[in-house]
């Protein structure tokens, strides 16, 4: 039976009608396109009256298909699908075509715009006739959640969910949770002590009945999809039996091997071969760094094992891979510091008293290597002049285009700490001061009053090559003061580089495991930059904190909470709809050539070695259609985007081209003489 198609062309006020002859398009569609039984134009199709018109026609005219020529389907596809559904039509039998964003708004010639509109309507009519009714699928949501990353964003998300009564697996790759925030002394702009506000949260997480804390562990593999993820987690061998350890710390105290701590102390201090990164670490169970441990080097020492009161040391412990099942995942994998050595003219790594901001955090931290005393690398000399250089690796097309968001405020904080703790004069070399959150500008004013010197201009070089006696033995900062328009040099004792916040080195690779993508810079891409900032394009995977873009503590906490709220929404609802736009393989015709097997990044295609056929795991399929296009036998079908539908769309869109089966092209119409016709 022939389909009965209704075509509706929207004026969108004058948005479409101003450039496209909508009446003509509707009239033409009604008169020329096969199987079109109703064709109307209307002022606002998306209005309730417009929708009612469609619903009425479906019932009265017994329409089996609907085409709406209006705005982008990204705006109103749901609206019109719902209208069709209200009238008893399967929503997937409604097709929208974009006459506004793709035609009227971008055209300047009414005749050509109208022609283009006709082609798009024709394409949709041909396509819609071949569309099939589809039913959305629902899957149950496992109420457990995986949070990846134990920094402040991950901790916040974990606590929100755990306090709400849901189970959370928190995975952290370092031996302790806490993240970067644990390294800081004070937090801007209130100057409250970082540890004082962080450690209660850490211990809460550590003791929470709803939290399974997996530190010194990494997510290896994620399979499944929203509602039902299966996650393989590698618990790295701690060499300490978790259940036996009381965290007394005797092992670390007695361990004879001291090494430089590049991670927590940012290279400013040391730790033992068996260690917890810091005294308030959660959990307090230490790990043995096997690369440094004497036992693992030459099977000698074993002091920790001998002295451990609970016999918790286990040199033979192996990595353990566990599998957990969760309904949702929150990635809060954080950031890493820009390698300041990449800007050699700033001298980091070459000139001793050039510090990175993280190093300085440790330097002024009361629990840090100098007990919070701000001194030069010699460990005793207090600096007399300190220069803080902003935007090191940020806002620079050579390194990172983005603004790292926190450095201006962190620099102000450093300025305050130096002024408070020393007699030094502090210079800030900035491009622009960015202090645009609550209380931030006030903090800037405070530092102006405290006497921090602000110099607008990018530093060209930090050098120890003195030109005059006053520069002898100093670090000379060479810069252009762009307010004065002058090249200048200032000799200082200490330089702090406000290094950029960068995506983790393995962000892209790890994103692939989760099925989420990165921006060019490497930050995880949110579903919508304004309206959906913590969801990702992969359902059930959310992002929070600096892994999505450089941000400060309050913003990270807000995102952690937001992601948790989104997850709670999913858990409360209990089930989740999955678009029926998925691929399927005709097993009868599949020859098992296995071309498609490597096509799916979600591992939704499995090979059955018994039957020698490939099969799509519907729940994992995201509907991209790449396998459909790859199948050499043409036996994979992509629902709602199958070959017949797209071929028909191509034919329809070229209705006025030379060889179109619908067309008026002269060549195709030419009769051929045949033996029979003569």
């Amino acid at each position: 039976m022939a389909e009965r198609v209704g075509v509706y062309v929207c004026h969108c006020g004058s948005n479409i009608a101003g450039m496209v002859d909508v009446e003509e398009v509707a009239r033409w569609a009604g008169a020329n396109l096969k199987d079109v039984v109703v064709a109307r134009d209307y002022k606002f199709m998306c209005s309730s009256l417009g929708q009612a018109m469609i619903e009425e026609d479906i019932k009265k005219e017994k329409l089996t298909r609907v085409v709406v020529g209006a705005c982008s389907p990204h705006l109103h596809e749901k609206t019109f699908r719902r209208a069709c559904q209200n009238a008893g039509m399967n929503p997937y039998l409604c097709q929208m075509t974009n006459l506004r964003e793709h035609v009227s708004w971008v055209s300047v010639d009414r005749k050509l715009a109208t022609e283009k509109a006709k082609a798009l309507v024709s394409a949709s009519v041909e396509r819609v006739k071949r569309q099939a009714p589809l039913e959305p699928m629902y899957v149950k949501v496992n109420p457990a959640t995986l949070v990846i990353g134990g920094g402040i964003a991950g901790l916040q998300a974990t606590l929100e969910l755990a306090d709400a009564g849901y189970h959370v697996y928190l995975v952290e790759r370092e031996p302790s949770i806490g993240g970067h925030m644990a390294q800081f002394d004070k937090t801007f702009p209130t100057l409250d002590c970082s540890a004082c506000i962080l450690t209660p949260k850490m211990s809460e997480v550590g003791q929470h009945e709803n939290v399974t804390l997996l530190t010194y562990a990494e997510v290896e593999e994620v399979s499944g999809s929203v509602g039902n993820f299966k996650v393989k987690i590698r618990k790295k061998a701690r060499s300490v039996i978790y259940q036996k350890c009381t965290g007394c710390g005797i092992c670390s105290e007695k361990c004879p091997r001291k090494v430089v701590d590049d991670v927590f102390e940012a290279g400013m201090g040391t730790r033992k071969a068996i260690y917890t990164p810091f005294p308030q670490a959660v959990p307090r169970v230490p790990v043995i760094d096997r690369a440094s441990c004497i036992w693992f080097e030459r099977q000698k020492c074993g002091a920790c094992k001998k002295l451990c009161p609970t016999d918790a040391i286990d040199f033979d412990q192996q990595d353990e891979v566990i599998e957990v099942e969760v309904g949702n995942i929150i990635a809060a994998t954080g950031w890493k510091m820009f390698d300041c050595k990449r800007i050699p003219q700033y001298g980091y790594g070459r000139l001793a008293n050039v510090y990175t901001s993280l190093e300085f955090e440790r330097l002024c931290n009361a629990a840090g290597p100098t007990g919070g005393k701000i001194v030069l690398r010699d460990g005793k000399t207090e600096p007399k002049e300190v220069a803080i250089i902003h935007c090191v690796g940020s806002r620079d097309v050579k390194y990172n285009e983005h603004c790292s968001a926190i450095c201006c405020m962190a620099a102000l904080k450093f300025g305050h700490l130096v002024l408070e703790k020393t007699q030094a004069k502090v210079y800030s070399f900035y491009i622009d001061m960015r202090t645009n959150q609550k209380g931030y500008e006030e903090f800037y004013q405070r530092l102006l009053e405290e006497g921090m010197v602000f110099v607008r201009g990018k530093v060209a070089e930090v050098t120890d090559a003195a030109r005059k006696p006053s520069e002898q033995g100093k670090l000379i900062v060479q810069f252009e003061d762009t307010l004065l328009g002058k090249q200048q040099r200032i000799p200082v004792d200490m330089v702090i580089l406000m290094g950029a916040l960068e995506p983790q080195a393995d962000a892209k690779e790890f994103g692939l495991k989760l099925g989420i993508s990165c921006s060019m810079a490497g930050w995880y891409t949110e579903r919508h930059p304004k309206l959906d900032p913590v969801a990702t394009m992969t359902d059930g995977v959310f992002v929070a904190g600096a892994c999505q873009g450089a941000k400060d503590i309050p913003a990270s906490v807000a995102q952690g909470a937001a992601a948790a709220a989104r997850v709670q929404g999913m858990i409360t609802k209990g089930k989740v709809m999955i678009e029926p736009i998925v691929a399927s393989i005709d097993e009868e015709s599949c020859s098992g050539c296995r071309i498609c097997n490597t096509m799916c990044p979600y591992n939704a295609i499995e090979f059955d070695p018994e039957k020698e056929v490939s099969r799509v795991i519907t729940a994992l399929c995201k509907g991209c259609g790449t396998c459909v296009a790859s199948c050499p036998a043409g036996v994979i079908t992509g629902a709602h985007f199958n070959n017949d539908q797209i071929f028909a769309e191509i034919e329809g869109i070229l209705w006025d081209a030379a060889a179109s089966p619908h067309g008026n092209g002269s060549a195709a119409a030419k009769p051929q003489p045949t033996a029979a016709s003569l």
Binding site: S589, C593, T598, G634
Partner: protein, 325 residues
């Protein structure tokens, strides 16, 4: 047999003659054919003339097995004639099904072909530049030669076709299956390709695993091992995209499938299937690397992807310098 004998016609157009031999591959079963049918027209074996066919009533022939592509006016006329006189017209073999090897000539036009054949080949001696002409005046009158077309066509681009029997040539078993189906009146819906609805890999005994290709190799570059999928060894094996029915004869003797059985059901363009599948498993992400792998490994894309199916492909032929003349 009490049933009256049916009438069978066989014809060849632009083809090599292999399909005629393939009929004889039926071996003793040819006697069953002869018992069931009067062979009313078969230029290669039976003394019947075109005039005899012309004098038949429309639809008088029960089955016509037509092999060969259409490249001259005479072949086109014969296709139309046999269509008119036959109840069931079968495109027999790759050439009538898809154009076959003769259709690779669609990479050239008539003039280029004539110049090669009648002027440029080393063995040709043609100082006066004489080329075949449709009409030549001689004292006795006008001599006629069929008009040679620029573009080779398939049988179904010329006349409506009822069934297709693919292969270069079709396997005897499949011919017999088709004849049996005709005899028992168990033919499927008109328009069907008489073969399997899957591809050669289905019957290929080689071991297949996930595919990633870093380099396409030519057959002379490698002695393939006998167990592993040839494609996985870098050889451009068309079995993935080619309709099953031959029993994977070529891969079984260590030779990659060249695609004579044509595309699987529902496929509009055989070469596109190969292109899509092979490109998909190229193991490279940089445009330069991809380009290098393709250009080095597949120097003759049309010969590789459309060896038998150029006429049947969506584009049918290479662009003519002056199209549509």
């Amino acid at each position: 047999m009490s049933k009256p004998k049916g009438k069978l016609a066989l014809y060849w157009a632009a083809s090599c003659g292999g399909c005629e031999i393939a009929v004889l591959q039926l071996d003793a079963k040819i006697l069953d054919v002869a018992e069931a049918f009067d062979i009313v027209f078969w230029p290669v074996a039976v003394d019947a003339k075109v005039r005899d066919v012309e004098r038949m009533a429309d639809g008088e022939i029960d089955v016509c097995l037509f092999n060969g592509a259409i490249r001259t006016s005479e072949q086109e006329y014969m296709a139309q004639l046999l269509r008119r006189k036959s109840k069931v017209l079968v495109a027999f073999g790759s050439c009538s099904h898809e154009g076959g090897i003769p259709a690779i000539a669609n990479l050239n036009n008539k003039n280029e072909i004539f110049q090669t054949s009648y002027r440029d080949t080393p063995s040709t001696e043609n100082p006066n530049g004489v080329y075949p002409q449709p009409e030549t005046q001689v004292p006795e009158g006008t001599l006629h030669l069929p008009v040679f077309y620029d573009t080779v066509r398939t049988l179904d681009q010329t006349v409506p076709v009822d069934y297709y029997l693919p292969g270069c040539p079709p396997e005897a078993d499949r011919i017999w299956d088709a004849i049996t189906a005709i005899l028992e009146n168990k033919l499927p819906a008109a328009g069907t390709v008489l073969g399997d609805d899957t591809t050669v890999c289905d019957t290929c005994p080689r071991k297949r695993s996930e595919k990633k290709i870093k380099e396409f190799k030519r057959t002379w570059q490698v002695i393939p091992d006998a167990e592993t999928c040839l494609l996985e060894q870098g050889l451009l094996c068309c079995g993935i995209a080619t309709r099953a029915g031959c029993g994977a004869l070529c891969p079984q003797v260590n030779s990659p499938c060249i695609g004579c059985y044509g595309p699987n059901n529902g496929v509009q363009d055989y070469g596109a299937r190969l292109m899509a599948a092979l490109a998909s498993v190229i193991d490279a992400n940089s445009p330069d690397e991809i380009q290098r792998i393709i250009e080095q490994g597949i120097p003759d894309p049309i010969g590789s992807f459309y060896r038998f199916s150029l006429a049947h492909s969506l584009l049918r032929r290479k662009k003519l310098a002056k199209a549509g003349e």
